[in-house]
């Protein structure tokens, strides 16, 4: 799962640490913009072989690294069991 962290750090030129914890809202912190959001979704779908539903993309579930991880983990698990 650290691939996600690496991707975000590389893509958005940030480093998660005490001053920028993993539960930071990437939109509010100015890290994510439209271009970056689309790239992130593409990356996650490709990397983990998952598809986000419209609801997931339009909802408020993909705003922090913590939330993104949880969502991806849930979808990967669902795929494995489904």
């Amino acid at each position: 799962m650290d691939k996600i962290r690496d991707f975000i750090e590389e893509q958005f030129l940030i480093e998660f640490d005490d001053s920028f914890p993993e539960d930071s809202d990437l939109f509010k912190e100015g890290v994510m913009d439209s271009f970056g959001y689309v790239q992130l979704i593409r990356f996650l779908e490709q990397e983990f072989d998952i598809r986000f539903t419209e609801q997931e993309m339009t909802g408020d579930v993909l705003v922090s690294l913590v939330q993104i991880r949880e969502t991806v983990a849930r979808k990967v698990a669902a795929r494995a069991t489904g």
Binding site: L13, F27, D33, F52, D60
Partner: protein
């Protein structure tokens, strides 16, 4: 067009200020290469470098009234000067020249600051009342012409461009991180900001009074989008637009020298060119920037318009190398951090224009702000209505909004819908329309170690504006455009500063107050705003090639980081080397270096808009530091620049208090 500069001392010093003022004028000689003039009094001096356009022989500056009480240094044009002159003659004023400068002087004498609301034009001036030892300064409504003020010990300095202050020996420039945070956040300086500590820009629509060492500011024009006329039908709207723009272009063709037109390839400049062609007796010259990089090039449409109108067309073709090479000079002229590179080709275009012997040009600037041409306005309409729109409507409007961005294609539309959902409710009071854009700004603000809240200043600006609160979401978006991107970049960094760098004056018919009033009277009345500038297009459809009349808004841009990555000019060290970055202690050097390395090594398609933007900010901040703070690398730019031929030098110090004569008129004409 001209440049003005001066100083007002309050320490009782008797030191001769003439050397200082001529030094300041020499630093802005590019604005007025045709001649220089100045006036000196006890503790006071101001002067003008002049680009002679109206009454070239008689319009020497500074000018005064018969009594020698009032002295004026003036930069710009008041296009309705003939009408004002007639009114003033009716009031008993006697004119000595046919120049608009004298109209401004006598209008001030007749009406005081109330004259400003009568002026239709782009101007900035300084008017000295010798009798009362007061200095007045004013700027036009939309921020067309610049004026900067700085307090320097017991002296107040003022100039059309800050580089004039480089000539003041002990004046020190210092970049102000707090202003930089705000500039990075909202992409451009706010009306009062300069980027440097202790230097203020006089905001548009304001005048200032300086007396006894104090500066007081007054607003004479509040930006409003209230309808100015009743327009009954769509047909009437189209007819009025046609008539009003014809008047606006006609007024701006008043010149004793030939006027050309900048053609961007878009509909706005094509309309201006079509009208200019009809209204001028001589063949029309047009000028365009072409790009080797096809992604940015609009030469097909430019040539189509030029052929259609039968103009003498001149193009300046721009390569990556041109951008990399001209960047330092263009940044020096711009004086403030820039968020994109598109101003650099305009620097080269004005050079080309001047070489062709043209010193006045018209452009389409201001049309998008007045007639809601930007996607930003559609985006605001969509986001404001988001919660009430059904899902399919949201999608179809989004698809209409951004067809030119690959990542907004059908494949990604769901992701973008998600993003818009995030931005469908206001988070920053008053700034709803710009919240998406400010995301990029927030990223750029990371260049600073301590950016604080980059939006505190702009939030205070909107909160302090009496009319803003009651505007609609789209009007607020317009208001913000008129206070940020238009004056802070388009009219300045990409407009006035680039054209005047080579002594070319740019005029904007779409910035005529009557045009803006009319646009406010018809916008969104006869359509939903999703076909941008529809009425404007309809008004001139029959005079333009179809491909241009219906061309979608294509934002004028130039290659950003890619141009520098391709050429790797030496000065990139400023943003790549640790030791160079250490000269800018307010920068987050680690982030800056990471960013610069990324954008200069990754393929262009992997570099996002905000990264390009942040890189241009970084590079321009570093170059500004070198030129203005370190005073290095100025080369030919300043120091060695010479004063244009001195045509008038007036020394009032030996004169008795104002009256009778024009002072010791040591006119060198």
């Amino acid at each position: 067009m001209c440049g003005i500069a001066g100083l007002f001392r309050f320490d009782g010093s008797c030191e001769d200020p003439s050397e200082q003022v001529t030094g300041m004028l020499a630093a802005i000689a590019h604005r007025g290469p045709d001649g220089a003039g100045y006036v000196v009094d006890d503790g006071f001096a101001m002067g003008t470098v002049r680009l002679a356009i109206l009454d070239p022989a008689a319009g020497l500056q500074p000018i005064s009234d018969e009594s020698g009480r009032y002295w004026l240094c003036y930069n710009g044009e008041v296009y309705n000067y003939r009408e004002l002159r007639e009114t003033l003659v009716g009031l008993g004023h006697v004119f000595r020249t046919a120049c608009d400068t004298e109209v401004v002087l006598r209008a001030w004498i007749a009406w005081g600051p109330d004259c400003l609301t009568r002026f239709n034009g782009g101007f900035a001036f300084a008017l000295y009342d010798r009798q009362r030892q007061e200095l007045f300064m004013a700027r036009d409504r939309y921020g067309k012409r610049p004026l900067f003020l700085a307090r320097h010990g017991e002296t107040i300095l003022f100039a059309s461009e800050m580089k004039a202050f480089l000539a003041v020996s002990d004046f020190r420039f210092e970049q102000d991180p707090q202003q930089l945070a705000s500039i990075l956040g909202q992409w451009t300086p706010l009306p009062h900001q300069s980027g440097f500590r202790g230097i203020e820009s006089l905001p548009m629509g304001e005048w200032a009074r300086v007396r006894e060492g104090r500066i007081e500011r007054f607003v004479y024009d509040e930006l409003s989008f209230a309808p100015t006329e009743a327009v009954a039908s769509e047909g009437a709207a189209v007819r009025r637009i046609r008539a009003q723009l014809t008047d606006a272009v006609s007024l701006r063709l008043r010149s004793d020298v030939e006027v050309g037109v900048y053609l961007s390839g878009g509909v706005d400049s094509a309309i201006v060119a079509a009208l200019a062609r009809e209204l001028t007796p001589h063949p029309l010259s047009t000028f365009s920037v072409e790009f080797e990089d096809a992604e940015f090039d609009e030469s097909a449409e430019q040539r189509l318009v030029a052929e259609h109108l039968g103009t003498r067309h001149h193009a300046r073709r721009i390569s990556h190398a041109d951008i990399a090479e001209a960047c330092p000079d263009a940044v020096y002229h711009a004086e403030v951090p820039a968020f994109r590179s598109a101003f650099i080709p305009m620097f080269l275009l004005s050079q080309r224009t001047r070489e062709a012997g043209i010193k006045v040009i018209l452009s389409g600037e201001g049309a998008d702000e007045a007639f809601l041409g930007y996607d930003l306005f559609k985006e605001t309409l969509l986001r404001a209505a988001w919660s009430e729109l059904p899902e399919d409507m949201r999608r179809s409007r989004l698809e209409r909004l951004y067809p030119h961005l690959a990542h907004y294609g059908p494949k990604d539309i769901a992701a973008v819908t998600g993003l818009y959902h995030q931005f469908s409710a206001e988070k920053m009071p008053g700034l709803f329309s710009h919240e998406l854009r400010f995301q990029n700004g927030q990223f750029s603000a990371r260049l600073l170690n301590a950016p604080g809240d980059p939006f505190a200043e702009i939030s205070a600006l909107v909160a302090g504006s009496p009319a803003f609160g009651s505007m609609s979401a789209v009007e607020k978006a317009q208001w913000l455009e008129y206070k940020t991107l238009l004056p802070g970049y388009l009219l300045s960094t990409q407009g006035d500063r680039m054209s005047l760098a080579h002594g070319v004056e740019n005029r904007c018919p779409f910035l005529d107050p009557s045009v803006i009033g009319l646009a406010s009277s018809v916008n969104l009345r006869f359509d939903d705003g999703f076909t941008e500038k529809r009425l404007l297009r309809d008004a001139f459809r029959d005079r333009l090639p179809g491909a241009v009349a219906d061309k979608r808004k294509f934002p004028y841009r130039a290659p950003d980081a890619a141009a520098f990555a391709a050429r790797r000019p030496d000065y990139l060290d400023l943003v790549l080397s640790e030791s160079e970055l250490a000269n800018l202690p307010f920068l987050n050097a680690k982030f800056a270096q990471r960013l610069a390395t990324k954008v200069l090594t990754k393929p262009a398609e992997e570099v996002s808009t905000k990264e390009n933007q942040t890189f241009l900010f970084l590079l321009s901040i570093a170059l500004l530091d070198r030129f203005f703070v370190q005073r290095q690398g100025l080369g030919q730019a300043v120091g060695s620049s010479a004063l244009p031929p001195l045509q008038r030098a007036v020394d009032l110090r030996m004169e008795a208090a104002p009256h009778a004569s024009q002072g010791n008129l040591a006119s060198l004409t």
